[in-house]
């Protein structure tokens, strides 16, 4: 019984939150990695693009709510996401046309493009803050919990409860659907294959008649879709605040690099690596061991490896370690 309690405890406080946080990071990391692989620069607007997409999702959610449209026990935001995606796609394509295409035609070095993306980061941040303001916003409606702690306790008769928020399930389901469609697209369709070919060897891809404009456009479209979905899921699960989204850029980059930048599948797993290590290293294991060990061996301290203040620092330290020993990432991305 104690053993089961310990397992449920870990599930509740470690596994479920890490899984949903990891999915949100993974979606971001995949598009950063794709942009790095195909457009060949570090896209510093990542976090702010996510907040841009989320902002429009929120605006459409409000609009639908004012019309009285809702999805019953599901959050209305799910209905608004496609509209948010449409606006974000338009925004990135306009941005590409106005800003990035010039530097591509000039064959500027990647550093230059990264600097330009800092310029667009400032602009995107300004747009988001001017339209919706810098405040914390919650836009979740519908059923909050799928499984409440005391329901679980009654069901199983255990001491420890297991809470599953509906947003966590939604995050996981949506992520699985989106990522499987994406990998099917990249691996099985002709356009996806041409994108991978372009990422592997630009000159060879151009020689074999791949249209670079189309590849670049599709990349931006995928980036906008993933950014909006990832951002909206994060906002549903926690809350929407432009500053947090900007900060999320850092673990997203860490995930992309840890997974091997330029390699979408690596980035996907990298998101979970970062999320799990952040939560595993900052969790206080005292209660867990209280269940497992006999009374005489019970620990005194919290048994916390690092204080929760260092949550962000953990992911960055992992990044530094990976950079030191395996610069191309855990799952071999581009050699840098």
């Amino acid at each position: 019984m104690d053993f089961l309690n310990a397992i449920v405890l870990l599930l509740n406080y470690l596994f479920v939150p890490a899984l949903s946080y990891g999915s949100q990071l993974a979606l971001g990391a995949i598009f950063v990695s794709l942009i790095y692989g195909i457009l060949r620069f570090a896209y510093f607007t990542a976090g702010d693009l996510m907040s841009f997409g989320t902002m429009f999702t929120i605006l459409f959610t409000w609009y639908f709510q004012s019309l009285g449209i809702n999805l019953g026990f599901l959050p209305t935001a799910l209905l608004a996401i496609p509209f948010g995606i449409t606006v974000t796609i338009l925004y990135v394509l306009v941005k590409d046309k106005l800003v990035f295409s010039y530097y591509r035609s000039q064959k500027s070095p990647p550093v230059m493009l990264a600097m330009v993306s800092i310029g667009t980061m400032f602009v995107t941040q300004a747009i988001v803050r001017i339209i919706i303001g810098p405040f914390d916003r919650r836009f979740f409606d519908g059923e909050k919990f799928l499984l409440k702690a005391n329901e679980f306790k009654e069901m199983t008769g255990l001491n420890e409860g297991l809470t599953i928020k509906s947003t966590q399930v939604i995050t996981l389901v949506v992520t699985i659907i989106v990522v499987s469609i994406l990998f099917w697209f990249l691996n099985k369709t002709k356009t996806g294959k041409s994108m991978r070919a372009y990422s592997d060897n630009e000159d060879l891809a151009l020689l074999s008649g791949i249209d670079p404009k189309k590849v670049v456009m599709i990349t931006w479209v995928i980036a906008a879709i993933l950014a909006t979905i990832g951002g909206a899921l994060y906002g549903l699960d926690k809350s929407f605040k432009p500053f947090t989204y900007f900060n999320n850029m850092l673990p997203i980059f860490a995930a992309a690099i840890v997974g091997g930048i330029g390699n979408p599948f690596g980035a996907f797993l990298g998101g979970y690596v970062i999320a799990f290590s952040e939560i595993l290293l900052t969790y206080a294991y005292k209660k867990f061991f209280v269940y497992l060990l006999p009374e005489s061996l019970e620990p005194d301290g919290l048994l916390q490896l690092l204080s929760t203040d260092y949550k962000f620092a953990v992911s960055f330290s992992i990044l530094v370690i990976v950079l030191l020993f395996r610069p191309s990432g855990i799952f071999k991305g581009k050699v840098l």
Binding site: I127, F253, S307
Partner: protein, 456 residues
Amino acid sequence: MRKNLDIISAYSIMLGLIILVGFLQSWSMALSILCLCLISAVMTMGANIQWGYAGLINFGIMGYTALGGLAAVLVSVPPVREAWQVGGFSMILCAFLIAFMVFSIRFIIKKYSQSKKRSYGIVAIIIVGLILLRLISAPAIESIESVSPATTGFLGGMGLPILFSWIIGAFFAGSLAYIIGKIALGLRADYLAIATLLISEIVISVIKHEDWLARGVKNVIGLKRPVPYEVDLQTKEWFINLVQKFNQGALNLITDTLERQELLKQLVIESSTVFVKLCFAGLFTVVVIILLIITQKALYSPWGRMMRAIRDNEEAANAMGKNVVKQHLLIFVLGSAIVGIAGAMMVTYDGLFTPGSYRPMRYTFLIWVMVIVGGSGNNFGAILGGFAVWFLWVEAAPIALFLINFFTSGLEETNAFRVHLVNSIPYFRFLMMGVGLLLIMRYRPKGILPEKIKHI
């Protein structure tokens, strides 16, 4: 004279703008803009040395700035004797333990060739060391932080004049840069940018959460100043006389003695803040000029030519027998040290250290906008960039207000759209920075004052 015309005209426009602020808003405002412009100029020079001379991207500027600020605290605050008594010994022991760990790992790496055994040995040393550190430091930290937590709760500093911290800050930042450089300098450019950005976040989170070091987010306030305090000035005889002399005309107009006294008192209070800021501005100008002379000399020395050669073609420079790795590390450390000076200067000017205020937007990306806008590789350009961008950053709100009022003048005062725009004025500065950066990168990619190379 003719060839420096662009520099002179750009700087006179900048100076004119600041003087204009003095006339339109207030002299105190103009001088505080000038002071922060000078500090930004130092930061930009540091970043420019790395980017303009050597082509290294350092997105960790925030981390070095914060370390400089930390130095200001550790130098100027008097030591907290009680805290040293309860926990000082353990903390010193920890420092020795860390040093011992580092040296033993270095020894093992040097002595034994690469093998599984060696890696396991190193890992074992690290794990045992970390557990020991935790065991020794945890009770010490707890007791240090419980020493009157409302005012101190940290070890305190050395109680020296705060000006020393400008050197110590450079030393701190330089040492951090040495470690980071050893780890990350082998990476490709944009990879280095991400790595340094993330490492600077680690530095900030350590400063924020290690309360025994500098009180963390509880902030350290009331740092000693290198210049006189306003309150002291207002009672000094010579200062009052000076103010009287300057405002003779205005004072003579008033015949009533009592009223004249009242006006004089007000003038003294106003001019005391101006005087203090003038003192700061003078100090900062000295630093900027010294750094400018040194960096100019370095740029046109054989060493500067070598750096440019490395920047423009690494392989060729390497083939000519220049040690690229070593020079990169050197310039990384030098540039970061200059940023460290700026960090210490900033905390000296503010008189307080607030780790929570270090954010990458303000301390890393804004500085990069300054470097790019000003002109990378040109020290005069870098300083100008620091001035122009900081000026715009501060004055963006009034400019935005003016523009909004101008363009929405057809709408009513209470129009929801207009009110919303006016409420979001602070965020227009981001828009201006972004658009400015994009325009400069597109139409003048070498900055306002581009790099000029003297050919001998």
